[in-house]
């Protein structure tokens, strides 16, 4: 058992090394054994069209599934046959390869810039079809279509919705002509297809998705002072939400999308305030002489957690969202900051200082803290909308880059980005 698991593991690593070299820009690092990940074969899709296939749909699906840590795609070179229709499947061969699931499909060009992807998911042991879909797509949507296929497969097998067809926002900083240029970018969840939505010679910070995924709140220093904006992604139009003297920072959307929790220092030291986006009325939530910042809402909208150094070092506190007495949540170590709730509200991902700065998970019922990443300069954790992974910022080769870790800490992946420093990732809602 151990030997076979080890063999599969090394084969997987080989495949990962191979796929990482392509223009995939995606490096996956399996940090611990994946012996109990579910084996699945995703056969390269048959191509019906002129020239070469514009997107290797199966490869995108394989990479998505591998990143989850829950599934373990079979390397393509280990596939003995490559069926594209159900009639051509030799079940015994796939069973012999130890595969639990099989995906086959086709991509057809059906018109000018019109494609149709068709795929089937099978249970190999029962020889049974679990799913069969046909998805229409334009050329530039083909990768997105592949992510949707991965979502369907992931949900059929694990019972949880996939989050591959979602997006991420992040900040990049690059030096151009002797100046630092700051960009707020949106990309697919695997880092592909980056689009810039804000550019500024002054810092941009703290992007936060609205719960409907249509807008982003962020901090900009473009007027050489901080201000909070909410920008509609489709139009690029934006509204200034907070432009008070002092700090305007840390925007966090309430789950109903009607309020923003923010940090303001207009009344002295930084405190947490809640802005009603319709009325623009401001409600002050904390009153301390210390630093209170980095608010985050619980999924039910009833509580807000935040970072405060009122006890002498930065720690995480919780306060009712409509006001009340703060209560301290973290006690382990001299530095706990920038917490964010898991989608079920039971855990907090946060930055834990000590031996470097690492991403940790705090189980709220037990108070147990588990460290997920190696550091030394990890920050800005953001949960996937299905709660399966945490996206975070890290330093690799002296450069800010993005990485993701499965919530069990088992699989870590690096999202390589084109140039400059990349930081402050935020994973979109579904």
């Amino acid at each position: 058992m151990f030997v076979s698991a080890y063999r599969i593991f090394s084969v997987l690593l080989l495949w990962l090394a191979f796929s990482g070299a392509s223009r995939g820009e995606l490096v996956i690092e399996i940090t611990r054994g994946v012996a109990d990940a579910i084996p699945i074969a995703v056969v390269p899709f048959a191509w019906g069209g002129r020239g070469a296939s514009p997107v290797d749909v199966a490869r995108v699906v394989q990479q998505d599934l591998a990143r989850s840590g829950r599934l373990k795609p079979l390397p393509e070179q280990d596939m003995l046959t490559r069926p594209s229709g159900p009639d051509a499947i030799q079940w015994r061969a796939w069973r012999a390869l130890g595969q639990d699931y099989l995906v086959i499909g086709q991509l057809n060009e059906v018109g000018t810039d019109q494609y149709e992807a068709q795929f089937f998911l099978f249970d190999v042991y029962k020889g049974e079809q679990l799913a069969g879909y046909r998805l229409a797509s334009r050329g530039r949507e083909l990768r997105h279509t592949a992510h949707r296929i991965a979502d369907i497969i992931y949900e059929k097998i694990t019972g949880e919705p996939g989050a591959f067809a979602t997006r991420i926002a992040y900040i990049t900083v690059s030096r151009e002509g002797g100046r630092r240029i700051h960009r707020l970018q949106i990309a697919d969840a695997d880092g592909f297809n980056p689009r810039t939505v804000v550019v500024s010679p002054e810092p941009l910070m703290s992007p936060a998705w609205s719960p409907d995924g249509k807008s982003i709140a962020y901090v900009s220093f473009e007027r050489r002072r901080s201000a909070i904006y909410v920008q509609t992604l489709a139009t690029g139009k934006r509204v200034k939400i907070a432009d008070f003297p002092g700090i305007n920072g840390s925007p966090a959307w309430s789950p109903d999308g009607r309020h923003l929790a923010v940090t303001l220092s207009k009344d002295g030291s930084p405190d947490i305030y809640v802005i009603n986006l319709a009325s623009r009325r401001l409600k002050r939530l904390t009153r301390s002489f210390a630093i209170d910042t980095e608010p985050a809402w619980s999924p039910d909208g009833k509580r807000i957690v935040f970072t405060s150094d009122r006890g002498g070092s930065p720690q995480i506190y919780t306060i009712p969202a409509n006001g009340g007495k703060p209560r301290r949540l973290t006690f382990e170590g001299g530095y706990n900051a920038r917490a964010t709730f898991s989608r079920d509200g039971r855990k907090l991902a946060l930055v834990h200082g000590g031996k470097g700065y690492r991403i940790a998970l705090l189980e709220l019922s037990s108070g147990t803290l588990s460290i997920l990443t190696p550091g030394p300069l990890d920050e800005s954790p953001s949960f996937a909308p299905n709660g399966s992974m945490i996206l975070y910022a890290t330093q690799i080769d002296g450069r800010g880059q993005l990485a993701a870790v499965s919530v069990d800490g088992r699989v870590r992946q690096q999202l390589a980005t084109p140039e400059g420093d990349v930081r402050e990732p935020a994973w979109s809602p579904f």
Binding site: G178, R180, T263, K266, S269, F289, D309
Partner: protein
Amino acid sequence: MTRVMLSLMLVAILTGCETFGGGGREAADTEAAAGQAAADATTRGLAAGEGATVYEVQTLGTGEAGEGGQAGPDQAGLLARRILYFDFDSAQVRPADIPVVQAHARYLMAHPQLVVTLEGHTDERGSREYNIALGEARAKSVAKLLELSGVAHRRIRVISYGEEKPLALGHDEAAWQKNRRVEIVYGG
């Protein structure tokens, strides 16, 4: 830390000094020129990838500093220092730097048309918004000292960039120490 914040609260706080008052045409020009020079210096510092050394006396010559009258023999030397450094997670001005702040206070008192911006910065460790708060606490500590030396708070502007504008780009203690700083910038 908390103690620093507490004492800060007692001095009517300085945020929001966005309006610097009328001032003559000459004053406005001075501000604009000084602001420009400061922006250039920042750019060069980052392009060089080096630390504080590019922040030399550019907008104010040593001769000008002497015009204050109250200046001691080393006033010019103290005034040349535009960057104050801080300890890790601390917003306390180091005792050795207090004379530097006082020299700038004297200069501001002797040049009532000038305004000053205190830019708070931190090293890259820890979370970014917490560092914005820490950078502000550092800048406010310096502002408080200037005020205690007689500078009107409407002439002092405080801004924190947290870890967003590092001077030194390394990832070690030497770089971090250079980045935990408050920059004294004359002009808007």
